[in-house]
Every structure is written in C-alpha cells, then in structure tokens.
C-alpha cells in the first residue's frame, strides 16, 4: 500500500477539504465600521473573497478613514456609523470593529437598520450591554455572527473532532496563553484623541487582557468541552510598560469548572515567547491549538490507529506531535499532504467566510449572538477577577440571555 494511499485511508474519517470561498454567484456588499488594526485586518481578508465588495467604511478618525478607503476599490467613507447606516442600501452586511465599549450602540443601530452583522468579540464591556446586543440580534431576523473565530477555524474543527472522539479521552486540564510584546498603546495623529484611541488602557471601559484577548481563548475551550467555568481568580501587574497606565500588562487567571478541571490562562504584553495557543490535556492525548496550526500529542499507552503511522509529525523537545491538517484527505489524494501543514490564511478569513455564507446562502451561523454573549460574560468575569484580586463566581443564570 502506498504511503499516500495509506494516509488517505486513515484520514477518510476526517472533515472534508478546507472550504474555498467563492461568492461570485451570490455577490455581497459589505460595510466596515471601525478602521483600527482589526478593521484593517477585516478589509485585508475581505479583499480575498471573489464576489465580495466593500462598499462603505467608517471611522471617526479622519486619517484612519482615508487610509481605509484606499484599502477598498471605491468605498464611500463615513465619519460616523449613523451616517453610514442611514445609507444602508449601499451594503448587505456590516462588520463592526469599533472599541468594545461602543459595540452596543453600533450593533443595535445596525440591526435596526436591517442589515446583517458581524460583531467583533468581546461583544461588550458589560454584561448588560452584551445581553442587549444578544437580545437585539435574536429578534432581528438577520444574520448575527460574533467574531469568535475559533469556531470557523478548519484545523480547530478537525482537532475538535479528535477531542470529542476517544482520542483525547477525559479532560485533565487546560493551559492557554497569549504572549505578545507590545505596548497596546496607539499613537494619535490628533492629540485630542489620545485617550479615545487608547481605550484599552482606560480602566473605566477596558476589560484588559483577560477580556479583550482571553474571551476568544475561553470560547475555544467552551466550544471544545461544552462547559463554562463556575468561578475565576486572577492577578495582574505591570511588568514592562510602566508608563502611568493602570490596566495590567501581564495577567494570570485560573478558571475552575464544575467537574474539577481547571484552565490556567496567562497573557502578557511584555514578552512574545510562545505566542498564542490553547492546550487541552486529556488522559489519552493532549491537543495544542495555535491559530493556523494544531497538533495532537499522544500518551505512550494510548491506542494507536493505523493512519497515525503515516501522519505528519513535528518534534517539540521531548514531545512529538501529530500535525493536524485540515483537508488532509483531499491533500493526500493529490500527494500534497505536506503542503497542508498550517492554514494558508489567518483564522479571521474563515470566520468572515462563514459569515458571508450565512448571509448569501443561509448557512448556519458559526457563532451566534448567544454563544458570543456567554463567552463575553466569562471574559468580563475574568477581568473583574484580575482587577479585584478576588474570586468571582459565574452562575449559570449569568450565562442566559433574557
């Protein structure tokens, strides 16, 4: 039996090839509200979709607006979301990438204008606002997708299938981190906008690293395990950016689940080692998820399946990981299995693709407003724990909307 054929046979139980998005038969017009870093990333990924045109962009900062318009073909620029939504006939859907604490206003207005909405996560900086967004989305009759992109990630989807099979077995615990050496401070071309641009450093509105970054990674674990934590503890400090800020540049959280499992989460702006990943440890194997890559590390006494003999592997010091490759069946049949290591596009691409499929084809939403609400609540509670230094409970009732 040839190697490729054996690998293909072993891989036949795995999800089909990574979806290629082509909306040329059902074109979509998109508006993007918020042209900071995330908004520009959204523009960059939307540019890759055939049949998708960005027809409107919005930012209150004139320079960002001008730069954003140039990253489109001929989008109309607006200095306020109200002005843009007043011309809702220009677009079929909007992507909201404003500061978190203004999501509610923009999302409610967009829903009221009758447009489909992709809203970045965390949904809001308070439980009340997040609930309001989820309730507005529920009654809209339009697509609402929360920007928790793990749920659209092809390698994460593949890894989740292993997690939910017997390959990983019982969950022991989780370790997740997000390390990136950066100040999280953004320069303002207009000094009067300095504070507005640096909302992440404003303790009055910012959820800090636990909320802004942690929410996404907590959601990955929620999605894999179907569980939400019952309590969270946290600590935070300034380790590098001692520039007068109050929001911690380094945090550590411990999220405890009802079954006794614990997620240890840390995030820092002071060091980049390890980047961003989530590792779920099971009694048979561990799965590591790192945005565009995923691996499974099997215990020596875990049962072996035939396809593993030919699987692509990577060595990490003393640990050997089986590389989880999305679309492995198709790639193996083409003799291109090696080329499939790692996604060719960032996770945001797949999340936006799923959103556009929901808008144009009526496909199921990848991450609903309710799912986004629940993970946002966990992020908010984690932020409270870091800020207070106290253990914060997360009641089941906290996770219900309306």
């Amino acid at each position: 039996m040839g190697q490729a054929a054996a690998a293909a046979m072993g891989m036949t139980l795995l999800p089909s090839a990574v979806a290629a998005f082509d909306f040329s038969r059902a074109p979509a017009r998109i508006g993007v509200i918020g042209l900071g870093r995330q908004g520009r990333d959204i523009l960059g990924e939307l540019a890759k979709f055939e049949g998708v045109e960005v027809t409107a962009v919005c930012d209150v900062d004139a320079k960002r607006l001008e730069a954003g318009v140039r990253r489109t073909r001929a989008a109309e620029g607006f200095a306020s979301h109200q002005a843009m939504l007043a011309k809702a006939s220009l677009f079929d859907a909007v992507c909201i990438a404003t500061p978190t604490h203004v999501h509610r206003q923009v999302a409610e207005d967009a829903i009221a204008a009758g447009t489909h909405v992709y809203c970045e996560a965390p949904l809001a900086h308070t439980v009340e606002d997040a609930a309001a967004i989820a309730l507005a989305a529920r009654g809209s009759g339009k697509v609402f997708q929360a920007g928790l992109d793990a749920r659209s990630n092809p390698v994460y989807t593949l890894a989740r299938s292993f997690f939910r099979s017997d390959a990983v077995r019982d969950l022991v615990g989780v370790h997740a981190q997000h390390h990136r050496k950066t100040s999280w401070r953004f320069p303002a071309s207009d000094p009067s906008r300095e504070a507005e641009m640096n909302w992440r450093l404003d303790p009055a509105v910012s959820l800090g690293l636990a909320g802004e970054w942690g929410t996404h990674q907590f959601d990955t674990v929620h999605w894999f395990t179907g569980r939400y934590p019952k309590s969270v503890r946290g600590v935070g400090s300034i380790r590098l950016h001692d520039d007068g800020r109050e929001v911690a540049d380094t945090i550590a959280c411990q999220l405890v689940y009802e079954n006794g499992a614990v997620m240890m989460y840390d995030a820092t702006l002071a060091n980049s080692y390890g980047g961003r990943f989530e590792t779920l440890f099971g009694t048979n194997a561990a799965i590591k998820l790192a945005e565009t890559h995923a691996w499974m590390f099997k215990e020596a006494d875990a049962p072996t399946q035939g396809w593993e003999v030919y699987a692509n592997r990577q060595q990490f010091h003393n640990d050997e990981g089986i590389t989880l490759i999305a679309g492995a069946t198709k790639l193996a049949n083409q003799g291109k299995l090696r080329e499939g290591v790692g996604l060719p596009n960032p996770p945001l691409y797949y999340a936006l693709g799923d959103f556009l499929k929901s808008v144009t084809e009526g496909a199921d939403v990848a991450c609903s407003a309710e799912e986004g609400y629940r993970s946002t609540v966990v992020g908010i509670r984690a932020a409270e724990a870091v800020a207070s230094g106290e253990e914060v409970q997360i009641a089941e009732s906290d996770l219900r909307v309306g």
Binding site: V69, R70, R73, A74, S183, P187, N345
Partner: protein
C-alpha cells in the same frame, strides 16, 4: 531620547530608530509603523500563499482580478519605472526568480516567453489586473521594502515625530529629519567586510542600495534578474537610488544595477550612484549626499 524597535518581515529585519520626547509616544508610533510593515508583508509576499499578491498571481491569467486603490497605485508606480527604465526594472519577474532558484519550484509555464510586464494589463477604470500570458508572475521583492517603509514613515510623520531612521535589511532606508545636533543621518555604504567605502548623509529622503551579490541562490545565481536577457544582472556591482519615495528608490536601484549606468529617462529629481569595481559614478543631484570614505569623518547612529 532615541528608541530602537525592530521586527522581522519580508525575509529581513526592519528597524526603526526614533528620536523625540516621550517614550510612550515613540514606542506607540514605532509599533504602529512596524505593524504597517507587517501588513504589507501579509499583502505582498509571494511566500505567503494567503497574500493578496499570491491570489492575483493565481487568478489573473484566468480573469481580470479587482484590487484595491493602494495595490493598484503601487502597480501603476511599477509600470512607470518599467517604462522609464526600458524594462530593466520589471515586477513581473516571478517566473525568472523561480527558474534561477530564488523562489519555490519552477512551474512548467516559467520556461515560456512573453512572461514580463508587457503581459500585465492594468485597467485604470476598472482597477483590475490581468495577465495576458500564463507564465506571468508578479514578484514585488524589488519594491516592497521601500513601499512598506513609505507606509511606516507616513505613520511616524503623522503623529508629529520629526526625526527617525527607518530601514529594511539595511538596504532600503527612509530618513526623516536629522538626529539632534546633526545635519543628517549618516549611513555607510558597503562595509560588510571592512570599512565603509562611502557614506551617505540623509535628511528627509529615501534611499535604496542594490547589489547582485546581496543574495544568491543555491546555484550561486545573484538575486537581481535582468528581465531583458532572462539571466542574473551583471552590468554593475552596486547601485544607489535616492529620492522622496522608498518605493521609487527601491525600483530604480534595481534598474540601475541591471543597466549598469543612469539612463537619460531616469527622473531628474532622483539621485543615483553606480559602482563597477571600485569606481563610483555619482549623479550631480546626489553629490551633496554621497561622500567617499576619505572625504568626511565617519560617525553613525
């Protein structure tokens, strides 16, 4: 104060040297500028299968691919230099780069003729890119670093910083203002295996230095292609172009290495210096900037 920040992108190290008051502003401006560089890497790198340019290369032979204003303007700039240099600078050099081992495996279509910029169709009205020949592949390696530095410099200037030196791999440079109590940023030319052969004093200009020996493939082929012959360039050992735009300086330094001399069609506002052996030919517009090693005391940042 002086703050240095660096990041890896486009296969090299980009470094910013920022001069000013207030560490938080310098750091935030530098980080935003480096993020702009990374953004251009993600958009323009042919080594990234998900980049916008990779998508254009994959599809433009089949249909006209719509692109955004920024990319269309960059391709239009490239077309201008291609025309003015008589084809010595050609951004549709991807097939040649593959053939000579500087990119991934050659494609079967790489061996055909007609794969240069003459086969790239830019529709100014529709803002689309189409390839009229299957072997065409855009490769913006000769202009991307300078272009990324232009974006970075725009951010640095935009927040009011008056003195900064930005470079990508030491060969593409944008100088803003001058460091305190200096007439400009002093940069040595060459000097990798000994003292710098010449020195530039830079203030509010962009500079690009190209040399065929800068990078070689496994087979020893230099990385600068002569699109007219289909072989590595060999007319000059080093060339410098200087002007207001990093992208233009990058494109013209490549063209100068290929041509071995300054052509009459090179815009007069751009300075040039071309070296063959140890002999430099320096344009009059560059003489106030370019100093041979013995002419001025050497000091640098």
């Amino acid at each position: 104060m002086i703050l240095r920040l660096a990041a890896e992108a486009m296969g090299t190290r980009f470094e910013l040297v920022l001069s000013g008051e207030g560490q938080p502003l310098l750091r935030s401006a530098g980080e935003a500028a480096l993020e702009a560089v990374r953004e251009e890497h993600r958009r323009l790198s042919v080594f990234e299968p998900g980049s916008l340019l990779s998508r254009v290369n994959a599809e433009a032979a089949s249909r006209a691919v719509p692109v955004d204003q920024d990319l269309f303007d960059l391709l239009t700039l490239c077309r201008g230099v291609w025309e003015s240099s008589g084809g010595a600078f050609d951004p549709a050099v991807g097939a040649l780069m593959r053939r000579w081992g500087h990119r991934d495996q050659p494609h079967a279509s790489d061996l055909g003729a007609g794969g240069g910029f003459e086969s790239v169709v830019l529709d100014d009205r529709a803002m689309t890119v189409r390839f009229a020949h299957p072997s065409v592949a855009l490769d913006l390696g000769a202009v991307a670093k300078g272009y990324a530095l232009d974006r970075a410099a725009e951010i640095v200037r935009g927040v009011g910083l008056r003195a900064a030196l930005l470079h990508g791999g030491t060969s593409s440079i944008v100088a803003i203002g001058a460091p305190p109590e200096c007439d400009g940023w002093r940069v040595g030319l060459g000097g990798h295996a000994g003292p710098a052969a010449a020195q530039l004093v830079l203030r509010d200009v962009a500079v690009s230095v190209s040399a065929p020996s800068g990078r070689v493939s496994a087979s020893g082929a230099g990385h600068i292609m002569d699109p007219r012959t289909g072989a590595p360039a060999s007319e000059a050992d080093e060339a410098v172009a200087i002007g207001r735009s990093g992208a233009l300086a990058d494109a013209w330094s490549t063209a100068l290495v290929v041509l071995g001399r300054r052509p009459d069609t090179m815009p007069p506002e751009l300075g040039s210096a071309v070296r063959t052996g140890s002999a430099w030919v320096v344009s009059s517009s560059m003489r106030s900037t370019f100093f041979r090693a013995a002419a001025r005391p050497q000091s640098g940042v």
